[in-house]
C-alpha cells in the first residue's frame, strides 16, 4: 500500500517537475526519497530520477559549461532561466553522487539499477554534453561520471564481481572500454596513495583484477565501431577510434596494476590469463618481462605458471633468457605431480623439450630426474610421465643409452652415478646412469602403469606417443576406466576361507590392529 502510494506520489512530482519550471521544487522531494533506507523506495526513486534527468538532459535544461557555485549563481545577476539551469544542474550532480554512492548498497537490485541509471546518464550526457566544446570537432565524453561509476565498481571492502559482470555488457562498447581503462589507472593511483601506510586491502586488488580481466580488446582496427555514445561522425584523429591508443591504455592499465605488490592468489590468476588475454593486446609485450621473470623466480606453482608467458616472450619476441633450462630443471620437484597445474606444466615441458637441437646430456638429465620423481608419483601422473620419458628418449637417440647399455665393463655399479642434488643438468652425470626407476615401475601395482613401463623392455618404437589426452587424467577417470572394463571370464575369487574381519593367521592387519 505504502509503496504504491509512494510510487503514485513520485509520479505526481515527476509530472510537476517536468510540466513547468515553477514545479521544479518537486525535485527536492524526489531526491529526498532517494536518500531513504527502504529498498523499494530507492528503486522507485531511482526510476523517477532516471526519467526526470533523462528528459531534462534531452531538453537541454541543464547548465552547460563550467558550473558556478550555487549560492553565488543564485545571488548573482543573471536571467531566471540561467539561474534555473544552474540550480537544476546542481540537483543533477547531487543525484549522480547519490547514485554512485548507491553502487555500494547492500542489495544487488539497487546496485544494478543505480549502475544502469548512471550508464544511461553517461549515454545521454555524451550525446548532449554538459561541457562546452573548446574547438571544432572536440571529442567530449563524461569522464567524471564514468570515473565515479568505476570507483563504485571497485570498492575496497566488498566483493563486487557480480556487479562487474553486469558492467561487462557496457565494456563491449569501445568508448566505454577506453575510458574505463583510463579511469582504472587513475583510481589505482588514487587508492594506493590514500592507503600508503596501512597497505591496500586485498579485496580492492581482487575487484580491480575482476574488472580489468574482463576487458578484452578487439583484434583489428576495423573492429572498433561499436560506440556507446553515438556521435554524428567519428573523426579519425580522436584517440578513442584508434586501436593503437586502446592498446596503449590497456598496457598502462595493466602495468599500473601489476607494479604493486599483489596477493599470491592474484599472481596465479594473472599468470593463468597472461598468455591468452594480456600479452596479445599489449603494444610492447616485452615490457612484461620484469613481471614474468620475478614470478618465475618465486618458485613453486607460480614459477610453473610464469613459464608459459616467458616461453611466448622467448619464442615470439626474441627474449634472451639465460639458464632457462636449468631453471626448468630445478622446477622438477616431487610436488610437481600433485599440484593443480600439472597438465599445464607438462604440456609446456613437452613443448620446451621437443626441440631436437637440445644437447643429449640435458635431455638425459631431464629424463632421469623425471624418472626419479616418478618413484613418488600417483598412478595418474605415472600414466602420463612414462610415455613422456619414452618420447624424450625417442627424440634423442643418444639418450637411448639410458635404457640400453650393452657394454659389459659398466656392469656391477655400486651406486647410481646420477646426482639428484646437482642443480646443473650438465654435471648430474645423467648420461652415465640408467633408468632403473622404470624397471622398478614395471612392478607397480596398477596394471596400466606396469604395462606402460614395460615399453622399455623392447627397443622403442620409432613413433612418439601423444600425451595430450593423458595430461588431464584424474584418478577418478582411472577408477572409472577400471570400473567399466568388461571382464571376459568369471570373476576370480579368493580361495582361502577367512576366519574373520582381520583375515587369516599371519595377516598384517591382524598383527597391528585390534577390533576393540
Amino acid at each position: 500500500m505504502e509503496s504504491e502510494s509512494g510510487a503514485a506520489e513520485l509520479g505526481r512530482w515527476l509530472e510537476a517537475a517536468l510540466k513547468s519550471r515553477s514545479g521544479a521544487n518537486a525535485v527536492f522531494d524526489i531526491l529526498g526519497v532517494l536518500q531513504s533506507d527502504e529498498e523499494d523506495d530507492i528503486l522507485s526513486a531511482t526510476h523517477t530520477c532516471s526519467r526526470l534527468f533523462g528528459a531534462l538532459l534531452e531538453r537541454g535544461e541543464l547548465f552547460v559549461g563550467h558550473l558556478p557555485e550555487e549560492e553565488a549563481a543564485m545571488a548573482g545577476s543573471g536571467s531566471a532561466l540561467q539561474k534555473y539551469k544552474v540550480w537544476m544542474r546542481h540537483r543533477y550532480n547531487s543525484c549522480c553522487s547519490r547514485l554512485a554512492g548507491l553502487l555500494g548498497h547492500r542489495s544487488f537490485k539497487v546496485k544494478e539499477l543505480a549502475l544502469c541509471t548512471l550508464m544511461k546518464f553517461v549515454q545521454l550526457e555524451g550525446a548532449h554534453p554538459l561541457e562546452k566544446s573548446k574547438w571544432e570537432g572536440n571529442y567530449l565524453f563524461p569522464r567524471g561520471l564514468l570515473l565515479s561509476v568505476v570507483a563504485g565498481l571497485i570498492p575496497t571492502e566488498v566483493d563486487s564481481s557480480l556487479l562487474i559482470s553486469r558492467f561487462q555488457e557496457y565494456l563491449e562498447h569501445d568508448d566505454v572500454r577506453y575510458h574505463t581503462m583510463q579511469a582504472v589507472v587513475d583510481l589505482v593511483a588514487r587508492v594506493t596513495d590514500t592507503h600508503q601506510q596501512q597497505g591496500v586491502p586485498p579485496m580492492f586488488w581482487n575487484n580491480t583484477f575482476t574488472l580489468i580481466s574482463a576487458v578484452s580488446l578487439p583484434r583489428q582496427q576495423s573492429d572498433i565501431s561499436n560506440f556507446y555514445v553515438k556521435h554524428k561522425e567519428m573523426l579519425e584523429k580522436w584517440k578513442v577510434t584508434q586501436l593503437k591508443e586502446h592498446k596503449h591504455v590497456f598496457e598502462k592499465m595493466w602495468f599500473s596494476f601489476l607494479k604493486h605488490k599483489l596477493p599470491v592468489s592474484l599472481y596465479k590468476k594473472v599468470l593463468v590469463i597472461v598468455q591468452d588475454s594480456i600479452l596479445p593486446h599489449m603494444s610492447q609485450p616485452s615490457l612484461m618481462i620484469d613481471f614474468l621473470t620475478n614470478a618465475y623466480d618465486i618458485g613453486g606453482a607460480i614459477s610453473l605458471l610464469a613459464l608459459h608467458g616467458l616461453f611466448i616472450l622467448i619464442h615470439q619476441h626474441n627474449l634472451e633468457y639465460p639458464d632457462f633450462y636449468q631453471k626448468l630443471y630445478s622446477l622438477l620437484e616431487p610436488s610437481v605431480f600433485h599440484v593443480k597445474y600439472r597438465a599445464r606444466f607438462f604440456h609446456l615441458a613437452d613443448l620446451f623439450l621437443s626441440s631436437s637441437h637440445l644437447p643429449a646430456y640435458l635431455v638425459a638429465a631431464f629424463a632421469k630426474r623425471l624418472c626419479r620423481l616418478s618413484l613418488t608419483a600417483p598412478p595418474e601422473a605415472l600414466l602420463m610421465v612414462i610415455p613422456f620419458i619414452c618420447n624424450l628418449l625417442r627424440r634423442h637417440p643418444a639418450c637411448k643409452a639410458l635404457i640400453h647399455r650393452p657394454s659389459v665393463e659398466a656392469s656391477g655399479l655400486t651406486a647410481d652415478p646420477y646426482d639428484m642434488k646437482e642443480e646443473d643438468p650438465a654435471k648430474s652425470h645423467a648420461l652415465e646412469s640408467c633408468l632403473w626407476e622404470l624397471k622398478t615401475l614395471q612392478r607397480h601395482y596398477h596394471p596400466e602403469v606396469a604395462r606402460a613401463a614395460m615399453a622399455i623392455n623392447q627397443a622403442l618404437s620409432p613413433h612418439e606417443v601423444s600425451i595430450a589426452q593423458l595430461l588431464e587424467l584424474s584418478p577418478y577417470e582411472i577408477f572409472e576406466k577400471d570400473f567399466k572394463k568388461e571382464e571376459s571370464g568369471p570373476v576370480p575369487l579368493e580361495f582361502l576361507q577367512p576366519q574373520g574381519l582381520l583375515g587369516r593367521r599371519g595377516d598384517l592387519s591382524g598383527e597391528h590392529f585390534t577390533l576393540d
Binding site: W436, Y445, A450, I456, P490, F495, G500, R504, L515
Partner: protein, 858 residues
C-alpha cells in the same frame, strides 16, 4: 523382336571369334588397328569380317523377318506339331528316340482300347518272344530225336541259306558223290554234332540242378512242416502260462532285475583328505600365480590342447573349456554345500518343506524326538548324519588351516547352540534392506549369525527358482548392513567379524553379483571423494566403513591378480585416500596406517610396488619428529614439511613413553579418539610409530629385489638415521629402528645396466608384387559398390539400346529392299506381259495384214 535378334547376332559374333576361319581371305577381313597397346585390356573387335557377318544377317532376316512379312496377310497358321522340332536343346538322336517312343505309345494305346487282356507282345522276327521261350523249354526237355535233327537242320538252313536244297540233299545222305557238297555237308554235320553235344551237356546239367532243387524242396517241405508244428505248440504253451505267473519266477526275475547296490567309494582317510585339499590348494595357487603375472589373455587365446583328426582347424570348439570355472567356483566347498540338499531332494522326493522343517525341529528339540513317528526316523537320522558330516568336514578343514583355534571353536559352537534354540527356524529372504535390518536388530552377534545362516539355508538356490536372486540381494543387504554397523558409534566390529565369513560364502556362490555390488560400493566412495576434492580442493579421510569395505574386498577377492575387476579399482581408491586426504588428526593417522596395512596385504603375494605407501610412511615418520629447518628429505603431498599438523605424533611426555605397552591399534576407537586421556593418546601415538616402523620393515623385505630400492627408501633412511633417534622413543622402538637401518645397509646395492631385449631381425624387403583387386578398365572407379553397379547397368542399357536401334534400322532397310524388289518384279512381270500381249497382237496384226496382202495379190 529386333532386340532379340540383335542379341542373337551379337552372341554369334562373339562365338565366331572363338573359332576364326583357318585361312581367311585377306580381302574379307577388316582390321581395327589400335593406336596404343594397353596391357591387360581385352580386345574383342580387333578383327572384323564384314562380308560374312552381313551375309549371315541377311540370311537370318530372310528366315525370320521375310517370312513374317510374306505371311502378313495370312490368317491360317501352320503349326508344326512334330515333337521337339524347334527345341534346340535336344540332340537329333534323342529327338528321334522320343518321337519313336511317342509313336509306339500312340499305337499301343489305340490297340489296347479294345484289347483289354492282351499285353504288348515282344517279337523277334515276327515271332512272339514268349512263344520262343516256351518252345525252347520244350525242346530242352525232349530227348534227341530225328525231329530235333530236322529242326537243327532247318535252323542251319535258315542260317546258312538255301534251306530247301539242303533238305532235299539230306534225303539222299548216304550217297557221297559230290566232293564239294559233301565236304560242306560234313562240316555241317560236325557242327551239328558239336552243338548237339553241347546241348546235351547243358541239358544234363540243368536236369541235375532241377533234380537237386526238387529234392531240396521236398526236404524243405518236410522240415517246414515240422518247424511250423513246433512253434505253434510253443505259442500255445506261453498262452497257457501267462495268466498264471509262478511266484518263484517272479521272485527270480525281480531279483535279477533289481538295482544292484553300486559299490561306493570308500570313506577317505584323513591323510587322503588332507592330500586332496593340498592338491586343490596347489592348483588354485598355480592359477593365482598365472593371473598375477597377467598371462591370462595369452592363455585364453590358446587353442585346446587336444586336436581331433577331424578337426577342421577353424578354431571352433564345441564345448567351452570350463575347467578354470570349476576351480574358481571353489568346487569343493560348493559341492559340500550342495550335496546334502541334492540327496535330500532325491530321497524325500516330493516331501514338502514343512515336513522337513518339522524334522529339524524334532532333531533339535530333544523332548519331541521320542514322539516322532517311526516312518520319519530314518530320514531324521539321514539329515542328522548329513549335518554332522558337514560340521565334521568343516571342522577338519579348520583344523587343517588353523589348528590352534580349536578351543574357541568349541566355545563358539556352544554359544551358537544356545542362540539356535531361541530363534525360529525359517526366515523369508528379506526383500529390502529395512527388512534385514529389522530381522537383525536387537539380537546378539550369535543370534544374528544364526539368522543369516538360516536365511541362507531356507533359500538355497537348489530349493526353488527365485532363491538365487534372493540370496544375491541378501549379499547386497549384508554389505550395506556391515557399512551401517561400522558407522555406528561405537562400531559393532565383532558382528562384522563374524558376518564376513557368511559374506565370503555368499560371494563364493554368486561371484558376479558380489563383484558388481562391491564395485558399486567402492564407486560411491571414490565419487564422494572426487566431489569433495572438486569443491574444497582436498578430501577428508573416509570413515571406518570404507576401511572395512576395502578390507572385505581383500578378503573376498584375490588381490594378487595383474588385473582384477574389483581389486584394481579398490587399489586406485586406496591410492587416492593416501594421496588426496591431508592428515589433520591422530585418527587420520590411524586410518592412514590401516590403509597402508591393507595396501601391504594386497600386494604381499604379488610384491608390487606402491609409491603412495612409502610416501605415506615417510610422512608419518616426519610428523613423529620435531620440526627442523632443513629436513634433508623431500615430503610428498599430502604432507607438508611445516605447518599445523607437522608434529602430530610427537610425544614429549617422558613418563608416557616409559609406560607404553606394545599392542595393536584399536580399530573401533578410530572415530572416538578425542575422548581419550592424554596418556592414552600418547600411547596411541607411540603405537602408530611402532606400526609404521613395522610396516617399513615389511616393505623393505618385500621390495628387496627392486632395482632402485635405495632411492625409494632414501627419505625414510634419512628420517630413521637423523631424526627419529632424537625423539627418545622407548627402547623397543629404538631397537626396531636400528634393525631396519641394519637391514637397509645389508641390502645389496647392485645396479645392472639396462639392456633391451633383442628384437627380431627385420626381414629383408622382398619385391613381391602387391596384389590388389583388378578393376575393369574404362569404368569409373572409387565409388561405392551400388553406385558402380548402377553405372554399369546404365552403360549396358545404353549400349543395348543403341544396338537395338541399329537392328531395327537394318530391319527396315531390309524390308524396304524386299518391297522394292517385289515391286520391281511385279513391274517387270507386267512389262513382260504387256510386251507379250503387244507382240502377240503384233503378230496377229502382221498375220492379218499378210493375209490381206495375199488376198490382194491373188
Amino acid at each position: 523382336m529386333g532386340k532379340a535378334r540383335g542379341k542373337a547376332l551379337g552372341s554369334r559374333a562373339g562365338g565366331r571369334k572363338a573359332k576364326p576361319p583357318a585361312n581367311p581371305n585377306p580381302f574379307e577381313v577388316k582390321i581395327n588397328r589400335q593406336k596404343f597397346q594397353i596391357l591387360g585390356r581385352k580386345t574383342r573387335h580387333d578383327v572384323g569380317l564384314p562380308g560374312i557377318s552381313r551375309a549371315k544377317a541377311i540370311k537370318k532376316r530372310t528366315q525370320t523377318l521375310l517370312k513374317e512379312y510374306k505371311e502378313r496377310d495370312k490368317s491360317n497358321v501352320f503349326t508344326d506339331k512334330r515333337f521337339g522340332e524347334y527345341n534346340t536343346k535336344i540332340s537329333p538322336e534323342e529327338k528321334m528316340m522320343k518321337r519313336f517312343a511317342l509313336e509306339r505309345q500312340r499305337n499301343n494305346e489305340k490297340k489296347s482300347i479294345y484289347n483289354l487282356n492282351e499285353d504288348e507282345e515282344l517279337t523277334h522276327y515276327g515271332q512272339s518272344l514268349a512263344d520262343i521261350e516256351k518252345f525252347n523249354d520244350i525242346v530242352d526237355s525232349d530227348s534227341d530225336t530225328e525231329e530235333r535233327g530236322m529242326l537243327s537242320a532247318e535252323l542251319t538252313a535258315s542260317h546258312f541259306g538255301g534251306g530247301g536244297g539242303l533238305l532235299r540233299k539230306k534225303a539222299s545222305e548216304p550217297g557221297e558223290e559230290e566232293e564239294k557238297p559233301k565236304s560242306r555237308k560234313e562240316l555241317i554235320e560236325e557242327l551239328i554234332a558239336k552243338s548237339k553235344q553241347e546241348k546235351r551237356e547243358r541239358q544234363t546239367q540243368r536236369e541235375n540242378a532241377l533234380e537237386l532243387t526238387e529234392k531240396l524242396d521236398s526236404d524243405w517241405k518236410e522240415i517246414q512242416f515240422l518247424l511250423s508244428h513246433k512253434t505253434s505248440k510253443l505259442e500255445k504253451k506261453n498262452k497257457e502260462e501267462k495268466p498264471k505267473p509262478d511266484a518263484y519266477d517272479i521272485m527270480v526275475r525281480e531279483l535279477g532285475f533289481e538295482m544292484k547296490a553300486q559299490p561306493s567309494d570308500r570313506m577317505k582317510t584323513e591323510e587322503e583328505l588332507a592330500e586332496e585339499e593340498q592338491a586343490r590348494l596347489k592348483k588354485l595357487e598355480a592359477d593365482r600365480l598365472r593371473r598375477m603375472l597377467g598371462k591370462e589373455e595369452d592363455e585364453n587365446v590358446k587353442k585346446p590342447k587336444h586336436m581331433s583328426a577331424d578337426d577342421l582347424n577353424d578354431g571352433f570348439v564345441l564345448d567351452k573349456d570350463d575347467r578354470r570355472l570349476l576351480s574358481y567356483k571353489d568346487g569343493k566347498i560348493n559341492q559340500e554345500m550342495d550335496d546334502p540338499n541334492e540327496e535330500e531332494q532325491a530321497q524325500e522326493g516330493s516331501e514338502e518343506d514343512s515336513e522337513r522343517e518339522g524334522d529339524k525341529e524334532s532333531d533339535t528339540g530333544d523332548s519331541e524326538e521320542s514322539d516322532a513317528p517311526d516312518s520319519h526316523s530314518d530320514l531324521e537320522s539321514d539329515v542328522d548324519s548329513e549335518e554332522e558330516d558337514i560340521v565334521r568336514e568343516n571342522q577338519k578343514k579348520k583344523q587343517l588351516q588353523a589348528p590352534e583355534k580349536k578351543p574357541s571353536d568349541a566355545n563358539q559352537k556352544a554359544r551358537m547352540e544356545a542362540a539356535r534354540s531361541e530363534l525360529p527356524y525359517t526366515f523369508a529372504a528379506p526383500d529390502s534392506y529395512e527388512e534385514l535390518k529389522s530381522l537383525l536388530s536387537g539380537k546378539t552377534t550369535e543370534q544374528q549369525l544364526v539368522v543369516v545362516e538360516r536365511i541362507q539355508k531356507c533359500n538355497h538356490p537348489s530349493l526353488a527358482v527365485g532363491n538365487k536372486a534372493k540370496l544375491e540381494k541378501l549379499f547386497g543387504f549384508l554389505l550395506e548392513y556391515i557399512g551401517d554397523l561400522a558407522t555406528k558409534a561405537p562400531p559393532d566390529l565383532k558382528t562384522i567379524d563374524k558376518l564376513v565369513v557368511q559374506l565370503y560364502n555368499l560371494c563364493q556362490m554368486f561371484p558376479e553379483f558380489a563383484s558388481s555390488s562391491v564395485k558399486f560400493v567402492l564407486r560411491d566412495v571414490v565419487h564422494e571423494m572426487e566431489e569433495m576434492i572438486e569443491i574444497k580442493g582436498r578430501a577428508a579421510f573416509p570413515g571406518l566403513d570404507v576401511l572395512i569395505y576395502l578390507k572385505i574386498t581383500g578378503i573376498l577377492f584375490p588381490t594378487s591378480d595383474f588385473w582384477h575387476p574389483v581389486v584394481t579399482p579398490a587399489l586406485v581408491c586406496m591410492s587416492q585416500i593416501l594421496t588426496k586426504c591431508p592428515v589433520t588428526s591422530l585418527q587420520d593417522v590411524v586410518k592412514g596406517l590401516f590403509v597402508c596395512c591393507l595396501f601391504l596385504e594386497y600386494v604381499s603375494l604379488s610384491q608390487r610396488f606402491v609409491p603412495e605407501l612409502i610416501n605415506f610412511l615417510a610422512g608419518v615418520l616426519h610428523i613423529a619428529t620435531p620440526n627442523k629447518g632443513t629436513p634433508g628429505y623431500t615430503l610428498v603431498h599430502p604432507f607438508k614439511p611445516l605447518g599445523r599438523n607437522s608434529e602430530l605424533l610427537l610425544v614429549s611426555d617422558k613418563e608416557d613413553m616409559d609406560t607404553w605397552p606394545k599392542k595393536g591399534l584399536p580399530l573401533s576407537k578410530v572415530n572416538g579418539l578425542k575422548d581419550c586421556s592424554e596418556t592414552e593418546t600418547n600411547h596411541i601415538r607411540l603405537s602408530c610409530v611402532s606400526v609404521c616402523l613395522n610396516l617399513i620393515k615389511r616393505c623393505l623385505a618385500m621390495y628387496g629385489t627392486l632395482p632402485s630400492l635405495p632411492e625409494i627408501m632414501k627419505p625414510v633412511k634419512v628420517l630413521l638415521k637423523e631424526h627419529i633417534p632424537e625423539c627418545g622413543h622407548p627402547r623397543e622402538l629404538q631397537e626396531l629402528c636400528q634393525s631396519i637401518l641394519q637391514e637397509m645397509e645389508n641390502q645389496g646395492k647392485n645396479y645392472q645396466p639396462l639392456v633391451c631385449e633383442k628384437s627380431k631381425p627385420v626381414p629383408l624387403k622382398l619385391f613381391t608384387p602387391k596384389l590388389v583387386k583388378v578393376l575393369e578398365f574404362g569404368r569409373k572407379q572409387g565409388s561405392s559398390k551400388e553406385e558402380q553397379e548402377r553405372k554399369r547397368l546404365i552403360h549396358k542399357h545404353k549400349r543395348e539400346f543403341k544396338g537395338a536401334v541399329r537392328e531395327i534400322r537394318k530391319d527396315n532397310q531390309f524390308l524396304a529392299r524386299m518391297q522394292l524388289t517385289e515391286i520391281m518384279e511385279r513391274d517387270s512381270e507386267r512389262k513382260r506381259k504387256v510386251k507379250q500381249l503387244f507382240s502377240s497382237l503384233a503378230t496377229q496384226e502382221g498375220e492379218w495384214k499378210a493375209l490381206k496382202r495375199k488376198k490382194f495379190k491373188k
